[in-house]
Every structure is written in C-alpha cells, then in structure tokens.
C-alpha cells in the first residue's frame, strides 16, 4: 500500500490572461521508505506536484491519498496536522526564522505538536547531532552558511518523525560540494526508513534516488 498516491491529479491556476494548466492527469505513488526524485525543466510542474503531495495545495481534479486518506476531504486544519506530524518539508530557500537560533528553529514544530520542553530539547540535540551541527545550536541563521542552514532546515523537517520528507530543490542555492553533503544527508534519512521525495535540477542528487521520474509540460514522462 503506497504511503502517498496521486490519482490522475490536475492543477489549473486561473490567471488574468487565461488559465494555466500546471499539472495534467498525473498519477504517482510513493511507498513507505522509498526515495523518489523528480526532474524536469523549469515550469514543467514538478514543484506543483510536490506541493500537492506535501498537502500544501489541493488538486483541481483527481484525488490525492495520504496513508489512504483523501486529502481533498480534509479541512485545512487536518491537512496542517498532516504536514506537522507525517510530512517534513525542506525548501530551496531554507526559510528558517531569522530571529530564532538553530535549536529553536528545530524545536518550533515540536512545540506545535505538543511535545514537552524536555522532549523537545532531547530531540533537538539528537537531530542537530544527526546533521552535524550540534556545536552550532545557539547560532542564528545569519551566522550559518547556506549549507548549514539547509542542514538545520532538514533537522527541522525531521523534528516530528515524519513518514515522508519532501524537498523542493534542496541544493538549489548551494554550491556543488555543499550540495553533496546535503544529498548525503538525504541518503541517511532514507536509510533510516523515511520516504523521501525530491524535486531537483541537480543530476547528482537525482541519481541517488531509487526511482527517478521526469516531468515535461505538466506530465510525467517515461
């Protein structure tokens, strides 16, 4: 049984100049523990697909099931709960809160999920150690490099032990070497049993996935 399954989903964006079909009848299933990479040119709809699977957006048609629940039947609060506890999101631009330290950024989703202070501290230490930044716990994002910020973002995404980690161009703002370190981190996350779905331009990152899919003009191509 797939962890997440998109069945014939389309996404249309109404625009002043006319509707834009970003996704056309896309079907995709990601199993628990699987590592999937989606590649394609800019504007092909891969981020749109990622947003649908990450329950950040809802399809215009078709259905999206997460752990056999139809996400279009869920309220925004229920989808938010899914994102908080079952899905971890990593962004191209990191989006760490600039006024919080690395540790506080990692603690934030845990606090929202209701973890106690001691639980949060323990888990945060574990995660920052996992991503190799235990000694930078009290540093603000402005005091971290791009690669370090992305590692903190990955730690944050893993805070509530999600079943699925989705990453939108996670190495897009990083140099090759740093990107390599982040890619290795995704390997570790997947090896630990978390499913990983990555959207990327980076062939080296895509090559690490167990399944690679390509998109063009809103469709998955063979």
């Amino acid at each position: 049984m797939p962890l997440v399954e998109a069945r014939d989903v389309s996404r249309v964006f109404p625009m002043p100049a006319g509707p834009v079909v970003a996704l056309r009848n896309v079907s995709l299933a990601v199993d628990a523990g699987e590592y999937v990479a989606i590649t394609g040119p800019s504007g092909c709809g891969k981020s749109t697909l990622l947003h649908l699977i990450g329950c950040v957006d809802t399809p215009s048609s078709g259905s999206l099931l997460f752990e056999r629940r139809d996400t279009s039947q869920l309220s925004e609060a229920e989808r938010g709960r899914l994102r908080l506890t079952r899905i971890g999101f990593v962004f191209q631009r990191f989006f760490l809160l600039p006024m919080l330290s690395a540790a506080e950024n990692v603690e934030l989703p845990q606090a929202e999920a209701g973890a106690t202070a001691s639980e949060r501290r323990a888990r945060t230490r574990e995660l920052l150690d996992y991503v190799g930044l235990a000694d930078r716990a009290d540093h603000l994002p402005s005091q971290l490099s791009g690669g370090e910020m992305q590692r903190v973002a990955i730690a944050r995404a893993l805070a509530n032990r999600p079943a699925l980690l989705v990453a939108d161009e996670p190495t897009g703002e990083l140099d090759d070497e740093t990107g390599e370190h982040v890619a290795a981190l995704f390997d570790r996350v997947n090896a630990g049993g978390t499913a990983v779905l990555v959207v990327t331009h980076n062939p080296a990152l895509a090559a690490r996935a167990s399944r690679r899919l390509a998109m063009k003009s809103g469709r998955l191509v063979e």
Partner: protein
Amino acid sequence: MTSFALAWRTAKRYRARTLLAIAGVAVIGALLFDMLLLSRGLLLSFADLLDSSGFDIRVVSGEGLAARLPIADSARLADDIRRLPDVEHVLMIRIEPATVLATGKPPRGISLIGSSDAEQSWRIVKGSSLGSPAAAAEACPVLVTRPLAAALGLTPGDSVSINVRPPGVASALPAVACRIFGIADFAFATNDELTAVTTMEAFRQAMGGGQPDADLVLVSSKPGAPPGRALRAIAGLRTSLRAYSNEDVVAQFNRNGFAYFRQISLVLSSLTMVFAFLLVATLLTVSINQRLGEIAALRALGIGRPRIASMLLWESALLVGGGGLLALPLGQLLALVLDRILRQMPGIPERMHFFVFEPRALAIHLVLLMFTAAAAAVYPVWLTARLPIADTLRREVLG
C-alpha cells in the same frame, strides 16, 4: 516557543521599526490619555474648587445662578438659615460692577464684592485681612486681587475711590473713598481678574445707603449632617429662592460651560485611537508582507493558523502595550504643557485645571489601547489566514 516569545523575538530582530512604532504609539497614546483627562478634568477641578471654599450650598434668587439678582430681605433669610439645625456657617455676598480710581491712573472697571464676613478666608498675599483691628476701624477697607494691584500699582495703605455701577440703576451713585488693606488671592479669581472685596457696611455706603441685599448666600453644613437635608430645609424657607448643592452647580457647569472641551475631548480621543490603529495595523501588515515566505513556510511545516494569529496579536500587543506604558508619563508631561496653554484663557479661575488625573481615565486608556491592539491585528491575521501557501512559496522562490 510560545507565541509571545516568537513575537518578542520578532520585535527584537526588527529593533528599529519596533522602537519607532512604540515611539509613535507612545506619543499618540499620550495625546489619547490627555484627552481622557480633559474629558472631565475641568469638571473635577471645578468641583474641587467649590468644595475647597468650605461651603456646600449656594442660595440665589429664583432666576438662577446665571442671573445673580439681589435676594429680597437677604439679611432675614441669612438669619433664618443660621437657625437651621444642620447649618454651620452662613456668608452673604453681593457682587456688582464698579469703577476704581487711583491717583494718576485711568479708571478701571472692576468687580466689587461685598462680604458679610470680614474673616472669610481670602488668602492674604500681602498686608492684612478685613478682620484686622485697623481694617475694622476703617469706613471702607478693601482687599484687591494681584492683577488689580499690579494694574494700578497698588500696595497696602493706598487710597482709591470706588464707584459702584449696578446694572439697571440709572442714577449715579457717589464714589466712596476706600483704603487698601491687603492683596489677596480669591478662590475663583482668574489670572487677570480685577476684583476688590470689602465689608457689607462699606458696600452699603457705596450703594448709596440702605440695606444692600445679597445676591448670593453661601452655606456650610455641619460636619456629619445628612447630605441634602440642609439643602431641602433652605429650599423650603422661601419658594422664590433656588438652592444648589455643589454637585448641582457642577452639573449645570457640565451642561452649559463645558460643552466645547467635552466635544474636543471626544473628537480627539476618537482620532487618536484611529491614528494608533492605522499606525500599528499598517506596520504589522507591511511587516507581514515582508515575511510572507517565512509564514508560508511555517504553514507548510504544519504550524497552525491559531499560533500564527496568536503571534501577530502578541506583536500588536507589544507595540501598543510598550507604547501605552510610555504614554502615561509622556501624557502627564504633555498635560502640564497643554494645561498651561488652556489656563491662559480669560475667565478661567487661576486655581482651575483642565487636565486632572483620575483612575477612571487610566482604566479607559488601558481598555482603549487593548481594543486598538486587537483591532490592528485583525487584517494582518486575516491576511495570514488566507495566505495561499503553495503560491507564496512559489513566488518567494521566483522572487
């Protein structure tokens, strides 16, 4: 990390705008506080002034306080009032316009007060009271206000000539030679008031003889007497009279003389609240627009709308609360300045103030600021609640 802590960190991170916003709220909050003080300040001050005179009942003719017409047979009335069990002290007053002539100076129009009690507590600044032995021996002993003394260069011991000019009396009254015994502060005198007070006997002479009737009888009740009993007893003595407690006088002043300040207080209070609301709402909205990517990311991570709304409410509360706290000492300072300006108004007793602190004003100020903080956060919260997460993330990447 609580919503308050997030809001606090945000405020600390964007220090310059936070401090400026707090400064803006503090200044406008000070103005709001002052308008609340102004809304009842003059009334409170007037009531305080009335109470401080020591008299709690004022008796006038049936035409009311404004008309101040002579009370017929006021001497007998005063005796009747003195015999009432709840009455402690009675003072008769007659006030008429007069002209004073000092040697080498042009005549000046003044108000001449005749008082039945030479020991009435005018606050003597220089010289002696009308009750002094020397004054008692004088035919027309007079105390003058400071402005009158300054205008005519008068000092205790000087002689002046006073002509009473009561309205409605066509015949010329003879001038009376008077001697200045003291310079005094009168409770209700304005800062430019030209007033002199003398004994009823001297007033009688100035009115051309006969028993001058008082136009105002002041009464003080005995301490501990039930409130209103003396007033009712006095009102029952003659139906042609009107008796007012201090509260009645204040209520009349509130209806007639205070309208402008009440209106300006209401208008400016409303405007300052709108201004504070606009200030904080605009700043929060612009700040949110700057952080849309962050907020969309938080929503994508599963941070719920309630937490984000709570964080914004706290941000608003920090700005308004911080500014509101500063507004209090600033408002007190501003009130001193504004009070000094308004007290230059002619006809305002020198001892009256426009801005008088009362706890009620503080409570209203607090409630209004809380409401403003909540209202200012409404639109930013609505913006974040409606935020299209995916679209925002996409725009942030492209931008």
